[in-house]
Symmetry: C2
Subunit: 132 residues, 2 copies
Amino acid sequence: MAEHPHLAAYSAHPDGRPDPRYSAASKPRFVQWITDVCTRPYDRNWLDHQHEIGLRHTRTAKNRTDGADAPDDIPLRHLLAFTAPVILTTKPFLHGHGHSQDEVERMYAAWTKAVLLHATLWARAYTGPDDW
Amino acid sequence: MAEHPHLAAYSAHPDGRPDPRYSAASKPRFVQWITDVCTRPYDRNWLDHQHEIGLRHTRTAKNRTDGADAPDDIPLRHLLAFTAPVILTTKPFLHGHGHSQDEVERMYAAWTKAVLLHATLWARAYTGPDDW
């Protein structure tokens, strides 16, 4: 995200200066999310936690955990479009660990579905109850 | 979609009976969309057309083109989640036409990105102007 100015702005101060403290606080949560996607049971707690992650992208809860002064919401289009690099950039990491090509393809398909499922759940925070 | 009752309902009559006329009218538009994704320039007309497709999933415009009496909107979660099969089921069709494995992978990555871009644009019809 930091490579893209239109996304980096959402982790920066209002005047555009980077906020290393906020970025440093966010990164371990992203790392934890990847682990959760791959290991947690998709149960009620998981579902509630995904909605909380969705809310933390919106005016309801963005910045609050870290007391940041970054823009107070990330528009839905950026969240949805960013699923593409989250999916695509993972592929190379699946190779080179002793899995067959077929296993790699199946892991990649599972990751693709899982990312899209999570983004779908996060989108709930952006819509009225009748629209999601 | 017809294989999934929770999705098929959105093309059916209010009592759940299939509406073959509506389904038959919709299918060529889906086929045309695939062609458009792969061939049209992504210009202002394309952008306007994608918003129109988004609206046709919502209360604003669903059913109107065909005078159908199906449910009057498709919740956003179904539209977003359905990107997964639209992406994944395409892979087999890319093989067997004389392209190298690398070309197949690059076509698949391009298709993945294009589907997610289009779904992102369609989501605009579901949100307030400040949220999309």
